[in-house]
């Protein structure tokens, strides 16, 4: 420990003692190299003369200007870099703060999520007015759930899955078909959709999970596209590109959300409000997401969950400890797929309409981006990343004033992907391991005495 901390201090001290002469020398060297390169490339120009011959023009001024420019640029760059290194060294213990921040953020986010319909009603005046916020809440929670589901596969087990949306599609179409063809209710279809998606996970997993890293990513990417193309082209089965519409709505465990005699409102003695259904859907997805979270947190403490993480760290060591790597990967794949299936059937019941359109690669990419930005394995990190990635673009809608700057035809929404890209690049530069990058141990020695 002692040697580890003295070296950087010694290095900074040396840098502080004589920063400028060294930097000037370094910049001078750069300028010299520039000169060397410029002499053959820039300093002589040949132009067509009056006759047939070429005329040589010398451009020593340009060469000099270029060398000077390089000198100055290099000096500025070096000054900036050393300054930054020094600032970095000064605030090394920032890592601790991030986990404390997460510990505070988690309960706050939960309380807001639990009371969102109430908050929306209070802040906007009436339940109907709060509709926009509840809708947005549902959308974000769907992605939080998908993010948590994919986190099992990517964050814990370390299997790069680029076709996660396929399982979401399987879940959505399971509900859509089972309910429209066989008339099954949502509450029967929900577990079935999860099972179907998990079965697809196992089906895909068996042949491909022996692949590693990039190869696995490519195959899962292809799988996602195959599912989408099948849904588009197998018209008899899935309705093709037109999708499936008039999917039955959700009921309150059997009580429909209608104005009639047997409706939800009448049974509980409330006056009918179309918003009841939306609030119910909101709490439904909240519960589904929280179940996903709870299962993941529990799994991390179980031997199987620990084996997932161990697998991510070192597959060969796992095998030497008697862990069946294929089965272990399959369980992670299947469990992640199952949650996508749940989320998919929720998506179908909320929209009352599904089409292959909703399950393209961009969705997979967004979900993966949420997991990576969140910090690969951190539950609260994923939730925050989902809020930022899904809620953030919504803010763009409200940036009408930008029209004044960029002209009438400017639609901030069209720049969504550009902003995604920028956000990703910024993240990779400033927090390459994700928003919350520290890992919480699944067990501590203090539990020995308990």
């Amino acid at each position: 420990m002692a040697t580890g901390s003295t070296t950087p201090i010694a290095a900074t001290a040396r840098a502080e003692a004589s920063p400028l002469p060294g930097l000037i020398k370094d910049a001078g060297l750069f300028a010299l190299v520039t000169l060397g390169l410029c002499v053959p490339i820039v300093s002589y120009r040949t132009d067509l003369g009056q006759g047939i011959g070429l005329v040589i023009t010398t451009r020593w001024g340009t060469v000099l200007a270029l060398c000077a420019a390089i000198f100055v640029l290099r000096l500025v760059q070096q000054l900036y870099l050393t300054g930054r290194a020094r600032r970095r060294a000064a605030r090394a213990p920032v890592v601790e703060g991030a986990s404390r921040l997460a510990a505070i953020l988690a309960p706050i986010t939960l309380v807001i999520a639990l009371t969102l319909p109430l908050l929306a009603t209070l802040l906007t005046g009436s339940l109907g007015e709060g509709r926009y916020w509840i809708d947005l809440g549902i959308l974000i929670l769907t992605y939080v759930m998908l993010g948590w589901g994919l986190n099992i596969v990517v964050g814990l087990a370390g299997l790069l899955d680029l076709g996660y949306v396929a399982f979401y599609a399987v879940g959505a179409y399971s509900y859509a078909l089972l309910s429209t063809v066989f008339g099954l209710s949502f509450w029967i279809c929900l577990p079935l959709a999860g099972l179907f998606a998990a079965a697809f996970g196992v089906l895909l997993g068996f042949p491909v999970l022996r692949l590693r890293g990039d190869y696995l990513a490519i195959v899962t990417l292809a799988f996602g596209e195959i599912i989408r193309l099948v849904l588009i082209n197998w018209t008899d089965f899935s309705g093709g590109a037109a999708g499936i519409s008039s999917i039955p709505r959700v009921s309150f465990f059997g009580l429909p959300f209608t104005a009639g005699e047997n409706g939800f409102a009448a049974t509980f003695g409330l006056s009918f409000n179309a918003m009841h259904r939306l609030v119910f859907l909101y709490y439904l997805i909240l519960v589904l997401a929280l179940v996903t979270n709870l299962v993941t947190l529990r799994m991390r403490r179980l031997p199987l969950g620990r084996a997932w993480e161990a697998l991510r760290e070192d597959e060969i060591a796992c095998r030497s400890l008697g862990i069946d790597t294929t089965i272990t990967k399959l369980t992670a794949f299947a469990l992640g797929a199952m949650f996508a299936g749940f989320a998919g059937s929720f998506f179908a019941v909320r929209q009352a309409f599904v089409s292959p359109e909703s399950f393209n690669f961009l969705e997979s990419a967004i979900i993966l981006a949420i997991v990576v930005l969140g910090g690969m394995g951190s539950q609260i990190g994923v939730a925050i990343a989902a809020i930022v990635m899904i809620g953030g673009p919504e803010l763009l809608r409200n940036l009408g004033f930008l029209k004044a700057v960029f002209g009438e035809g400017f639609d901030p929404n069209e720049y969504r992907l550009l902003l995604f890209g920028l956000a990703m690049v910024a993240m990779m530069v400033f927090r390459p391991r994700g928003l919350i990058s520290e890992r919480t141990p699944s067990v501590t020695i203090a539990e020995r005495g308990r």
């Binding site: 799994m299 060591a317 008697g322 862990i323 069946d324 501590t444 020995r448």
Partner: protein, 306 residues
């Protein structure tokens, strides 16, 4: 599941007590028979036969590239040998053909554990978690293959507690209790080596294979390692097979030594036998190539190398 069990049963031979090779240990735990491993044109291990006695520390030594790690990889199911048979005999007489078991079953069923020449811990997981991962099989059963565990039933909780207790005992033994909750990758090198051994021991092995456990250790750490290995031999039902270059470790603690050179066994015996063996001295103990050739010609060993 059933298919796998069937295959395992195929690989389990109940009869056929191992024939005693004269001079070998009387009650062997591992019998390597005519093992050959080829990589393309290169024969890394050539017709190797030896035995590891139950309760012994057996050392496998030889110059760099002699094929020692390849032998380990064959024993522990990472390579399928080109030829030969590797039998593991448990105390009850139950025999496993290791070369036929799928990789993970070598540890799970036959109970052979190993460490690696370049340490393979789970670097981002804590020291304690590293040990708990090694108790996968019993904990998995206690958690009802996760189904009971997810429901939070108390059976798993007590099993986990027992697991932590066992891990803590090992941490005490290797002196890492204070660092139990630190990431394993942050430990100093010597501690990582000991942790890897403790992790292998947490799988309750019959045979522990250590690939150069003393590499990179200072003399004090090296003698601590000797104590640890003796403790493993004396207090557990675990036999040890180790690859080692450090002669002070090998000569002090091994009951038997097998010497490899270019994939061929050139000697097999007690440390005293080995110390005086001319071929070993020629091949191993720092003689130049010409002299080696001269000695090999003398003892009638020519043209055997791949």
């Amino acid at each position: 599941m059933t298919l796998a069990t069937g295959i395992n049963r195929l690989a389990t031979l109940q009869d056929e007590p191992p024939a005693a090779i004269p001079g070998g240990p009387a009650d062997p735990v591992l019998i390597v028979d005519h093992l050959t491993m080829r990589f393309g044109g290169l024969t890394a291990v050539n017709d190797l036969s030896f035995k590891v006695g139950r309760g012994d520390i057996t050392a496998l030594i030889g110059p760099n590239g002699a094929g020692k790690t390849t032998v380990f990889n064959c024993i522990t199911g990472f390579y399928k040998p080109s030829e030969g048979m590797i039998r593991l005999v448990q105390k009850g007489g139950e025999t496993y053909l290791l070369e036929r078991l799928p990789g993970h079953d070598v540890n799970r069923l036959a109970r052979v554990a190993r460490t690696f020449q370049n340490i393979r811990l789970f670097p981002r997981m804590t020291v304690l978690e590293n040990l708990l991962v090694a108790m996968h099989k019993p904990l998995m059963r206690a958690s009802g293959f996760s189904i009971l565990g997810i429901l939070g039933l108390p059976a798993y909780r007590s099993a986990e507690k027992a697991g932590i207790e066992k891990a803590a005992a090992w941490l005490d033994r290797i002196g890492l209790t204070a660092r139990a909750d630190d990431a394993a990758g942050d430990l100093p090198y010597g501690d990582q080596r000991r942790l890897e051994i403790a992790r292998a021991m947490c799988t309750d092995p019959v045979l522990l294979c250590l690939d150069e456990p003393a590499a990179g250790l200072n003399p004090r750490e090296s003698s601590e390692l000797n104590t640890l290995l003796r403790l493993i031999r004396d207090e557990y039902d675990t036999s040890v097979l180790l690859i080692e270059h450090d002669m002070s470790v090998v000569m002090q603690i091994s009951d038997r030594i097998v010497v490899l050179d270019y994939g061929i066994k050139i000697a097999d015996g007690t440390p005293d036998d080995i110390r005086t063996d001319t071929r070993v001295i020629a091949a191993y103990l720092g003689v130049d190539d010409e002299e080696v050739a001269a000695v090999e010609a003398e003892v009638g060993l020519t043209g055997t190398q791949a």
